[in-house]
């Protein structure tokens, strides 16, 4: 029971990171019907941006108030990652809108290769680690054999994710911007005819996706304290799995999917074997797509003749 509770906490932490990345996939897929292959690498890039800002802040102001530093890093990383994704959309995807189906996907794969190698060239191929932070933890259940703990890191990650998701949910559901997004998702041409600036809405979608990926990147850095240029691929595919599992195009679905994937991965590692945890995630992806293509909360695809 204690082991189960502990793994539940770990799984929720990991799952919130996947959920944050998954939203970027699901929104972009919802609005332009394309798998943004470079999204995992945008996440990796944001972790690097966060790493650099952490170190800058630490060297300028000292590492005293870790929470204030964290907030600053979060805001800066969100801003600069959004700028990156905005530029990527502008340069690599927008010229291909209305082109044939595979063109944006190939462009996105190219962008993914470019980003991975760009970071490798400018920051070097080695693992980059920062000194661990927020190391204290609270013991929830005291036991002679196994005590359940929740660390400050995990509290910060789960809380930040929850707050940002709530803010984000408000934007999509209650503001005119969110309304424009949902309109574009339903029918891009009609939305354009009704006076919505479709290009701008799509740009903002990419910016929002990147901002959430940046939150995930900062949280990843806080959780593991180490980042590598190749770290974008596997979390990216897992987050896509999460988006598919939750039902692609559905925002709450992406979060639920992310949490599920995180839990499955953690429980698999704890109860079976850690070697095959990625295989488990990929198998889930295949099984879900084959047997339940519309996911948990998605709408079934209508086949038009």
């Amino acid at each position: 029971m204690e082991v189960f509770l502990q793994q539940l906490i770990n799984g929720l932490t990991l799952g919130s990171i996947y959920g944050l990345i998954a939203i970027g996939y699901t929104m972009v897929f919802g609005i332009i019907g394309m798998v943004n292959f470079a999204h995992g690498d945008v996440f990796m890039l944001s972790a690097f941006i966060a790493l650099i800002f952490f170190m800058l802040i630490a060297s300028w102001f000292g590492a005293g108030l870790i929470v204030v530093a964290l907030i600053f890093v979060l805001v800066l990383a969100m801003f600069f990652t959004s700028l990156w994704n905005w530029t990527i959309e502008r340069v690599a995807y927008r010229p291909l809108r209305g082109s044939f189906r595979l063109a944006p996907l190939i462009s996105a794969i190219g962008m993914s290769i470019f980003l991975t190698n760009f970071v490798q060239v400018v920051q070097g191929p080695r693992n980059k680690s920062i000194p661990p932070m927020l190391n204290k933890s609270i013991t929830l259940i005291e036991s002679t054999t196994y005590s359940v703990q929740i660390s400050y890191k995990q509290i910060v990650i789960i809380l930040t994710t929850a707050i940002l998701l709530a803010a984000f949910w408000f934007i999509v559901q209650k503001t005119s911007l969110g309304r424009a997004q949902r309109a574009c998702e339903q029918d891009r041409k009609m939305a354009g005819l009704l006076g919505i600036d479709v290009d701008r809405t799509i740009s903002i979608t990419f910016v929002m996706g990147a901002a959430l990926a940046a939150v995930a990147g900062v949280m990843y850095l806080v959780l593991y304290g180490v980042v590598n240029f190749a770290d974008g691929f596997t979390p990216g595919v897992k987050a896509f799995t999460a988006a598919v599992l939750g039902g692609i195009g559905s925002l709450p679905g992406a979060v639920i999917g992310g949490l599920l994937i995180g839990l499955i991965e953690v429980f698999w590692s704890a109860y079976f074997t850690i070697d095959y945890k990625d295989v488990a995630a990929f198998c889930i992806l295949a099984v879900v797509l084959v047997f339940m293509p519309s996911g948990i909360l998605g709408r079934p695809e209508v086949e038009k003749v």
Binding site: M34, V35, L45, F48, I49, L51, I52, F53, M55, L56, L76, F80, L83, W84, T87, V91, A92, L96, S99, F100, R101, L102, A103, L105, I106, S107, I109, G110, M111, S112, I113, F114, L115, T116, N117, V119, V121, V122, Q123, G124, K128, S129, I130, F233, V237, F240, T241, V244, D275, Y276, D278, V279, F282, C283, L285, A286, L289, V290, P293, V305
Partner: protein
């Protein structure tokens, strides 16, 4: 005296607008560079991460983007409104090539067959090894993989992002069977093809209902699963360490060694490692040509026509009574078979394989070659493979760049960076690939090349 011709008002160059656009692009570049380029992270001697400011690099990036965007804006203004067209070849060149495609095919074939001789004449016995191995064999492996994947993606329209799995199946079949049972290359070559085709069918079966992007992602997942199993099932595949000491192919039983029964001794020649490389070159050339031949013939068979029909419209296909399950499975397993051939050749050539050779990046490169060349076009795939693989191999030769950028400059570091960038640029420039006209196999009265925009994906 002729009156001086006035420039029309619309052609007047608007410096201000161009400058503004350039300044905006430069500002964005500055923003992009701020965290990731301006400070480099580096482990110091105490293994603590420190930051190195690199503002000179940022200044260079901003300046290059500013000038580049400025020139582009001016160019666009000169050409008036609308998308500026970039043309490398004069109009009709590709049409000319296609009309005389038989002639050019023969010329290309002649070049490929004589390539080792040309390389030896131009570079000598010592220098030719590099050219035949790094350029000849390497490019031909990718041409063959591209043509194999072309059956799945270009003809049948099934987007496969896990093609490297079949390449791995072929390579590991050869490596394990040759090492453990001592079977020869010529028995194992067809066998690994058959095994890969079997795996193609096995993996193809569950994903038949999926289409488009979903299919791509599931095939990607399968590719990764096979790689992860190869890494983790150490008893079977020796894990990360890989398999070394794989038996090399022999010339119908005569090994390429310096021994008395070796190739050189039997034929009374002086021993040179070049003979094996030339032999391997002809083997992969033969395999690649076999792939091309089979593809060309299959397109004229009912199954090939069914693939192309399936690609264009699956519902129409089903209503006309085509068995879509079988059609998809044949495409999947035939494509996988050629991947398996290439894989066993790869294992035989390297003598060492490990899961590192079968990462997702390889699948992406092969798919990129197929799409960039123009899906369904055999010529396009061959050209794209030569340009992308040969081009990145050429970077290894650019030693003289060190004299410009200093001794720390290593052009090979930028290989994949340029590769990814080139993928994006070619897609924007020519979304239909380099060869963007198609020749239909089924036609009424007259055969005409059509634009690729008229078909869904490939060689319509």
């Amino acid at each position: 005296m002729a009156p001086v011709k006035q420039l029309p008002a619309a052609r007047q160059v608007d410096m201000m607008t161009a400058l503004k656009e350039a300044a905006f692009a430069a500002l964005v570049t500055f923003g992009l560079c701020i965290p990731i380029i301006a400070w480099g992270t580096r482990q110091n001697l105490d293994n603590v991460l420190v930051l190195d400011p690199r503002w000179d690099a940022v200044a260079w990036a901003v300046a290059i983007i500013f000038v580049g965007r400025f020139l582009m804006a001016l160019r666009q203004q000169k050409r008036g409104e609308g998308k500026s067209m970039v043309r490398l070849l004069p109009h009709g060149t590709i049409g000319f090539f296609q009309r005389h495609s038989r002639l050019f095919s023969l010329a290309g074939l002649g070049f490929l067959v004589t390539f080792p001789i040309i390389a030896i004449t131009l570079a000598g016995w010592g220098g030719a090894l590099k050219w035949i191995d790094n350029f000849g064999v390497q490019i031909l492996i990718y041409v063959m993989l591209g043509w194999g994947l072309n059956i799945v993606v270009g003809l049948a329209g099934l987007l496969d992002l896990g093609y490297v799995a079949f390449y791995a199946v072929g390579a590991y079949s050869y490596a394990l069977l040759a090492k453990n049972f001592g079977l020869s290359f010529w028995i194992l070559l067809p066998m690994s093809g058959i095994l890969a085709a079997f795996w193609g069918m096995l993996l193809g079966f569950p994903v038949l209902r999926l289409r488009g992007d979903y299919l791509a992602i599931v095939t990607l997942a399968f590719g990764e699963i096979i790689r992860l199993i190869l890494i983790n099932w150490v008893d079977f595949s020796n894990g990360y360490a890989g398999i070394s000491g794989i038996p090399r192919p022999t010339f119908f039983g005569i090994p390429f060694t310096a021994a008395d029964n070796g190739f050189a001794a039997v034929f009374g020649l002086e021993f040179s490692p070049l003979y094996r490389t030339i032999f391997l070159y002809y083997v992969i050339l033969g395999l690649a040509l076999l792939t091309a031949f089979v593809t060309l013939r299959l397109r004229r068979l009912p199954v090939g026509r069914a693939w192309e029909a399936l690609r264009e419209d699956e519902i129409a296909c089903r209503s006309l009574g085509i068995n879509t399950t079988n059609t998809k499975l044949t495409a999947f397993s035939l494509g996988a078979m050629f991947g398996g051939f290439a894989g066993s050749f790869f294992a035989a050539r390297q003598g060492f394989i490990s899961p590192e050779s079968f990462v997702f990046m390889e699948s992406a490169i092969i798919l990129a070659i197929v799409v960039l060349g123009g899906m369904g076009s055999l010529w396009g795939v061959a050209i794209a493979a030569s340009a992308m693989i040969g081009g990145t191999e050429l970077l290894r030769e650019l030693e003289w760049l060190k004299q410009i950028f200093g001794p720390d400059f290593d052009p090979t570091k930028y290989r994949m960076l340029i590769f990814g960038f080139a993928m994006v640029v070619i897609m924007i420039w020519k979304p239909r690939g380099l060869i963007s006209t198609r020749e239909p196999t089924a036609f009424l009265k007259e055969k005409k090349a059509i634009s690729a925009d008229m078909v869904q994906e490939g060689h319509g």
